[in-house]
Symmetry: C2
Subunit: 406 residues, 2 copies
């Protein structure tokens, strides 16, 4: 890897004349614009749109609720920051009793650790040399960083990097249950766990397994049955490791759809809930233990405010919020108060609403509040979330790890 050469860059770049790199003054100005401090105190209906907002009362209730519900089960909470990508919200989760947080990408973990979150479990293996080196540098600086691994080469690479950094790094093993990431459960997993355990610069801390497929299974009982069935080989693997005398202080998994299901798994330590904070159409529709049709354990706190910009065709409205404001996830965005609206966010820039019946006549400039299809990727589109209480902006929440897909 060659180092950055300003002179070389200026000579060779076709973009050199275009002032490719931001001047410091401009950087500061852009950040001022992004943080939108002038919005504090405004009504949510007066925000420029599209605006991503969170109802703070509801989000705070959601944060408390997961702990209340799991009290006495012996299962803790390790929320996944891939959902909110915000150290400010992670701090609220930790203050409520979370064991720490999970991160999906090294870039997310870095933003959390560098912004005051002490305990971060990176649930994804890092496979490139620069990423492994960076991860171990992060561990050297922050003792609460734990890295997942899932193959032998990676364990050796991590050992080498930890040794070079002069540290003993905490490691968990990712067990695959859906053919995506991780090692196969059983003997293969045991062998890797023992390999980690023997490495002088690594400390084996247990396992994690995430069943991404079961979270959105509709119906509590169907979800419960599938979640526990899929987990059987993981439980066996846990038992094998326990019998082999390995350190099993972490046995992590589950999500918002299974947070109240996993506690029957022996040895299970914590759920990696993410969406419980915000909720979305995908999760509302799976049904809960007490309410079969609506999963109402948690309140929908996250919405988008959009503006009607055209109403000239009867039965149609155009808004300023398309795929760049909502993503293309299904089901479609849901306009609060207008169950008959069909919202198509398929166009990049514009939302297209069609309807047979509306509860009011919409004028150009009218605002709509809309529930998102899927909370994680929509948050990744916005630099800030407006924190709302009693319909007014109370705080600006920077989505500091937005775009940290590396």
């Amino acid at each position: 890897m060659s180092s950055f050469s300003r002179r070389n860059f200026l000579q060779t770049s076709a973009l050199a004349g275009a002032g490719t790199l931001l001047a410091p003054a401009l950087q500061a100005k852009n950040l001022e614009m992004i943080l939108d401090k002038g919005a504090i105190g405004k009504s949510k209906w007066d925000l420029d749109t599209p605006a991503l907002i969170v109802d703070l009362d509801k989000m705070e209730r959601n944060i408390k609720k997961v702990h209340t519900r799991l009290q006495g089960t012996g299962v803790g909470v390790r929320p996944h920051v891939k959902t909110h990508k915000s150290p400010a919200i992670a701090k609220m989760q930790v203050a409520a009793g979370a064991l720490g947080v999970c991160a999906a990408k090294l870039g997310e973990a870095e933003v959390m650790l560098e912004n005051g979150i002490k305990n971060v479990l990176l649930t994804t293996v890092n496979v490139s040399a620069p990423k492994i080196i960076k991860a171990m540098a992060l561990r050297k600086k922050h003792s609460g960083f734990i890295q997942a691994v899932d193959n032998a080469q990676n364990i050796q690479d991590l050992q080498d990097a930890a040794k070079a950094a002069g540290i003993k790094a905490e490691v968990t093993l990712d067990i695959d249950v859906i053919g995506r990431t991780g090692v196969a459960p059983g003997e293969q997993a045991l062998a890797l766990a023992q390999m980690i355990d023997k490495m002088p610069n690594l400390k084996f801390c247990g396992i994690l397994a995430y069943d991404g497929g079961v979270q959105h299974v509709v119906g509590f009982k169907a979800r419960q049955e599938r979640a526990l069935k899929t987990f059987e080989p993981v439980v066996k693997t846990y038992d094998m490791m326990k019998a082999a005398g390995l350190n099993m202080e972490i046995f992590s998994g589950g999500g918002t759809g299974t947070y109240d299901i996993m506690s029957v798994v022996p040895g299970f330590t914590d759920v990696q809930v993410g969406s419980y904070l915000f909720m979305d159409r995908q999760y509302v529709e799976i049904g809960g233990e007490k309410n079969e049709t609506v999963f109402d354990d948690f309140d929908v706190s996250l919405t988008v405010i959009a503006t009607v910009i055209n109403n000239r065709v009867p039965g149609r409205l155009t808004t300023d919020s398309g795929a760049k404001a909502f993503t293309l996830n299904k089901p479609t965005p849901l306009v609060i108060g207008e169950p008959g609206f069909n919202y198509n966010a398929g166009s990049d820039e514009f939302g297209a609403i069609t309807f047979e019946k509306a509860n009011k006549t919409y004028k150009v400039g009218d605002k709509l509040e809309i529930i998102a299809p899927h909370c994680d990727p929509i948050v990744n589109l916005y630099d800030i979330i407006y924190g709302i209480r009693n319909d007014k902006v109370e705080s600006i929440i920077p989505v500091l790890a937005r775009g940290k897909s590396q």
Copy 2:
């Protein structure tokens, strides 16, 4: 609108203790990380992934080609920055002979004007008071800013704001051809044009009409037929305005799919091409005038580098690039050199490849180069595009208007 009160904010915010607003040092650090200056000179295969890259030779050829093709037709080029969201690329387009650029959102227009682009046509109407006031403040500062309108109330609001700002603002009328934005063609459009023309603080400059539906019609002849048919009422409207003595210096429309079709329209001044820069799977598949099955007028310059992070299940590979790296647009991402790969980017964090036959055996850590489904929204996910020449990073292109959906 209440003004920002630091004291009030700190007292009331649930997030106050979390240090919601970034400290200046942290801002600078984050920007350093984002700009990734250390990547200059690296091979594209050594970039941390997911990485969005553009082949500079190909992009520069594309930029030239649209002008070469339209030479002598009397039709100019006004590229749409919603595709690239980068002032650096806009400057390259202007240097190649563009009349100026189009922007879809006020936030994009602002980023362009504040970063050295002199002529910006905002193709979307602004309907809220703060946006209208901001637009006119922008026009006061930058004389090359032109605003689209599409209704009478908005024309009056714009007149009031222009008067308050002490300017005479250039305005174009958006004519609706697909039931999305704009005014109906014909008498209604003529009436609005005359209304604008009579406003003391507005200057009527012509019309624009964008047929978003026709751009991806497969087959050149089918596309040509539909584009010209849809445009017939717009042409009539143009004639009516011309006959009424209105200033028709702008008659703008068309896109990458119709850039070589619109020049037969009398009075037509410029095409709003965007995707021609980068291309994507959606555009490649529509077919061109000379090549019926592949639209190869422009080269595919934009790709994503992804890394294989798991290969344990035969016939499957997991990558580090899912929906947050690719969007959910169709068709699916296309792995270069592996036509038999089925790439599913439906998961937020991971790409799932399934295949019956691969041209090589993939190891964990191997990199893939992948063509995006749809270029506009994928660029909106990244802070930077790596500018590549001869497979090496020559420049870092900041996507300064990324996320500017307002």
